[in-house]
């Protein structure tokens, strides 16, 4: 009982870590593509860890199956929306990330 609780807590905490890392990436990265990369990669793994943690905590096959469906749907939605946003960014001419010149709006150099 204690073991499953420790395992579930570890999974949930590491899931939260990936969500926080993804959010920091969304806020701090310079262009659309690296932001998308941070957000979708980190969130997919974070969602997986949180779903696994909840499944371990519940100990019920039914809830585990439902959480698996939640994760797969989250993956699909994130993949397709990421693809569409990146596609739109390329089409509208944001393909070159502004590496050479620091943006004026960015307070940190």
């Amino acid at each position: 009982m204690i073991l499953t609780e420790v395992m579930a807590s570890l999974l949930l905490i590491s899931g939260c870590f990936f969500y926080i890392a993804g959010t920091v990436g969304l806020l701090r990265f310079p262009d659309v593509f690296s932001r998308l990369h941070a957000l979708t990669k980190a969130d997919n793994l974070g969602l997986f860890l949180i779903c696994t943690g909840l499944a371990v905590n519940s100990g019920s096959p039914r809830i585990t199956g439902l959480l698996l469906v939640v994760w797969i749907l989250g993956l699909l939605a994130a993949t397709v929306s990421c693809h569409l946003i990146a596609r739109r960014a390329i089409r509208s001419g944001q393909a070159e990330p502004p590496v050479a010149e620091p943006r004026a709006a960015d307070p940190t150099p």
Partner: protein, 311 residues
């Protein structure tokens, strides 16, 4: 202890989001804040052990309202006035006094409600005692059908009136046709749709069926079904038609018509008006409500009298 911490963060977040919604400079930012506000509200309902309200708030308050707000924003950008950052929100200084007055009002109402003596025999208690007679095991659905049938009927009338109002306005200020989505032919979109739209139908039917014994019901199911329709509109699978088909006209009034007719038939046979005579009647009415709600919401989103399959 940790529960209190979560609740405090949630309460502060709700107030902060509400303030940001009325204070933000750009219309777009205000819309996003409002959507996040709806999501936080749904978390708050979940924390208050009201999953029915949490579902309704997430599906309607954040989901469908958010989609309506964002599509309005897009229309403003394409067809609106030249200052495409949206109309300037000039009334920002009003936000603080209005917020304070609202807070005072909430405090007065809450204080008054706490002072009221507990009344025996509230709708909830009566429903809990007589759940078997009503025929459902979910007390929320029981209260809605046993005591609040007029409210549900009037909500359907309000939804129909909203759609008629949108139609009336649309003939005056014709909302321009949005340019077709650029991503209609992306293979990934088709794959996602072929999976997500059937799932939205499945979840809608599940929510309707579950409404009898667990959180769910016609409004939540209707919003989920409408989300599938909104997705089909967004990806160019459905497009606006100039005229409503006969089927759509029937669909929009179906909920109101079936509910009123059932109520009137019950009254004609000697019962009180709108008292539903059994579980079959409950599911009949709820199914009609679900179809009408979903269709009305999708038509509102498309800002069109009708929809047709895209060629």
């Amino acid at each position: 202890m940790i529960g209190l911490a979560i609740d405090s963060v949630l309460a502060l977040g709700i107030v902060w989001m509400a303030l940001q919604t009325v204070r933000s400079d750009s219309l777009f930012q205000a819309m996003l804040m409002f959507i996040v506000f709806g999501l936080l509200m749904s978390l708050a309902w979940a924390r208050l052990h009201a999953p029915d309200l949490a579902l309704a708030e997430a599906a309607i308050g954040a989901g469908i309202t958010g989609a309506l707000l964002l599509v309005t924003w897009r229309r403003l950008q394409v067809h609106g006035p030249d200052d495409s950052n949206g109309p300037r929100l000039m009334t920002r200084w009003l936000a603080l006094p209005i917020a304070c007055a609202s807070a005072l009002l909430v405090i007065i109402i809450g204080w008054t409600a706490l002072q009221l003596p507990a009344v025996p025999g509230t709708a909830g208690e009566l429903t809990l005692q007589r759940l078997e007679d009503i025929g459902v095991s979910n007390p929320v659905t029981g209260v809605l059908l046993g005591f609040r049938a007029y409210d549900t009927l009037m909500e359907m009338a309000v939804l129909l009136a909203a759609w008629l109002g949108a139609r009336a306005v649309a003939t005056e200020f014709r909302p321009g046709v949005l340019p077709g989505p650029a991503h209609a032919e992306v293979p990934l979109v088709g794959a996602l749709l072929s999976l997500v739209v059937p799932i939205s139908i499945l979840v809608a039917v599940y929510l309707l069926q579950a409404g009898g014994s667990a959180p769910g019901g016609a409004f939540q199911g209707g919003a989920v079904l409408a989300a599938g329709g909104v997705l089909l509109c967004l990806t160019g699978r459905l497009e606006a038609a100039a005229q409503a088909s006969a089927l759509e006209r029937v669909g929009v009034i179906l909920g109101l018509a079936v509910f009123s007719l059932t109520g009137l038939i019950v009254m004609a046979t000697g019962g009180p008006m709108l008292a539903l005579p059994g579980v079959w009647a409950i599911y009949l009415v709820e199914t009609a409500l679900l179809l009408s709600i979903a269709l009305t919401l999708v038509l509102l989103f498309a800002a069109a009298p009708g929809l047709r399959r895209a060629p």
